[in-house]
């Protein structure tokens, strides 16, 4: 790690060091700010978040029992769903009317709980799809190969680099459908990186992943932050949360009930109540 990278890690730790955690608290340098986000489905309040800020260059975990509204909040923030009310801004830019795909263009990319690797495309094509700004993607340019050939090779080079980083380079020309579940997760993450995002939002990246791969994924996620990106991820596995996150936000029944460093959260009574009060698998008590 060179000096610049180390800065991010230390800056993140420093930023969180003296904060006394309260739900919805402000952060020194937020990349994502959301206020008053409300969403209900026919009588049930799915999300009711007064305030949430995500610190830049940090890894923030979003945890909570099932049905707490984490994925819904993800969908709302990334424009895949419309809230009933609320405002939110990414990097200072108001996202209120911005639809799904535009948030990704702005640098906010997300993955899905059920991996969406495109099985009918090869691995390398999946990766090339991720690149933004390929002018060949407009159909009139698409007709004239000489206009996009150069761009395509550059994109392919970058894709190959990422693939070797994620150890998928051997499978480069295979259909993504032939990959194992874990490999597909890696592919989705690698593909998301092709968009050169500022904020990476991972929806349950460890779901259904075997322990060996979990370790590897942990390292990949940490590396994202080390390279200057911000990570916000939803997770149930408390080991992972404890291992890699700088900050933890806890949701229950649509509201944020606690925030803090992983240690602080483990001993927060409100959080323990929320978890023990529902049928959550892993108890927080084990991590104390």
């Amino acid at each position: 790690m060179d000096a610049e990278l180390v800065d991010y890690v230390q800056a993140a730790r420093a930023a969180f060091a003296d904060l006394s955690p309260t739900p919805g608290m402000r952060k020194p340098d937020p990349v994502l700010v959301a206020s008053g986000i409300r969403r209900h489905f026919g009588g049930i309040v799915a999300v009711d978040v007064d305030h949430l800020e995500v610190q830049r260059h940090s890894i923030t975990a979003l945890i909570g029992p099932n049905g707490a509204g984490k994925t819904t909040l993800f969908n709302l923030l990334t424009g895949f769903d419309e809230p009933d009310s609320g405002t939110w801004a990414f990097d200072g830019r108001n996202l209120e009317r911005v639809v799904g795909y535009k948030t990704a263009k702005l640098g906010m990319v997300r993955t899905f709980q059920l991996t969406k690797s495109l099985t009918k495309l090869s691995v390398i094509e999946n990766m090339k799809l991720g690149a933004t700004g390929q002018i060949g993607e407009r159909w009139w340019n698409g007709l004239l190969p000489f206009r996009w050939r150069a761009q395509e090779s550059a994109i392919e080079k970058r894709a190959d680099q990422l693939l070797s980083r994620f150890k998928l380079d051997q499978m480069r020309d295979e259909y993504a459908g032939t990959l194992s579940g874990g490999q597909r997760k890696l592919l989705e993450m690698a593909r998301a990186l092709m968009t050169e995002p500022k904020l990476v939002m991972l929806d349950e990246p460890m779901a259904g992943v075997n322990p060996a791969l979990k370790q590897s994924l942990n390292e990949h996620i940490k590396r994202l932050r080390d390279e200057g990106m911000t990570v916000l991820f939803v997770e149930h596995d408390m080991d992972v949360v404890h291992d890699i996150s700088d900050w933890v936000v806890v949701m229950a029944e649509g509201r944020i009930i606690a925030e803090g460093t992983p240690d602080q959260i483990s001993s927060d009574q409100a959080v323990i109540d929320a978890y023990l009060g529902t049928q959550q698998g892993k108890s927080l008590m084990e991590d104390i």
């Binding site: 026919g42 895949f80 769903d81 799904g100």
Partner: protein
Amino acid sequence: MKVRNRQLATLAFSVASAAAFFAGTGAASAAPPESCEGPAIRVLVNDQSTGDKVPLPDVAVAINDEAGVLVIEGVTDEKGVALLCLPDKATYTVVLDTATLPEGTALQDESNTKVVDEQTFTTNVKTVAFFTGTAVRETQGYFGRLIDVTVNGIRLGIIIAICSVGLSLIFGTTGLTNFAHGELVTFGGVVTHLLTVAWGIPFLIGAPVAVLLGGLLGLFLDWALWARLRKRGIGLISQMVVSVGLSIALVNFYLMRFGGFPRRFTAWNDQIASSFGPIDITQRDFVAGLVALTALVSVALMLRNSRLGKATRAVSDNSELASSTGIDSQKIIRIVWFLGGALAALGGVVRGLDEGVEADMGAGLLFLMFAGITLGGLGSAYGALVGGFVIGLFVEVSTMGIPVFPELPLLGFVKHGVPTELKTVPALAVLILILLFRPQGILGQKERVG
């Protein structure tokens, strides 16, 4: 179960009473005073000056063959009907002796001869009508026409509503958009025609049998085709394409066996319209409409109150959730296909009474059915009933203009009314507008459309 039995009993009772009513009165007007052994021409002479069809007795008519030679002549009876027997099916000319018309009446279209082509002898008896008096409709005025059009719209609306319920429920329970549904409607008309005209079974037996067969056809299709596709995991888009193939196959099968020309059920063809206040409607149309309406209401009530109906709605809304509460989704789906097929067939019968049976009558209605269920909400059974009814009414009423509307370029149809041949066009406009502003329809659930 008790509630369901009650609904069925009501339905049966209505049908039975309608049947009795019909049998009692219909028989008199349908059965000719005598019958012929071979082909015949039945001549009707009516006066229309007062707006009702008034039969004219003692009018002399003669039938000549192609060479002009007289074949047979006769005189109309007290019902204004003369049945003249013919030696064979050929081209004839019917001549009315205007000298024998009552004082003060004259034929509406100046000609007192009508040619009957050999080709048109699809059944043994060919009917030819002569009308005297002035055309009544012209003096009817705007409101008279409006009422007529509204009545037609209600009839069309009811037909579309009962045809679409099945379509909507099939979508709700299996996710399939059944592009062959129109052919289930046509099935009702075609089979009824086969039973009653070709095989001579009385209409009141033939029609219900056709409806039942329609239901069985729906059941058969599900068993033979759709259930197997679902089990194989074949996707919905592929299933839609399969339904297209089925539609092509069925339409052409009907064309092959039934022919391309519209045909009517021979019973109750020449109805005399009776007046209910400002509404003119024939007995036949009235009873047909009543039966359809009863079916409509019964289905609505059944869906709402009976256990079966509630289970159906549950499966239609969310089939996984429904099966977790112990409802047998597969059984419900089979019932839905039976019901859908039967109702579609009923719609076909009623439509056949109105407009005659044609091999592609269902296909023409399919688009209106889709407009109706989109308006009401795809997957919602009530939505289909309401939406279908509204579309039917709207389509007919759109032919009336709003006279007080200003004359604007391109919007001339608002003032003058949509021309009758284009009256289904506004339904498309409705379809597009609904999808733009409220894609879930009036009664549908809002879904995330991304």
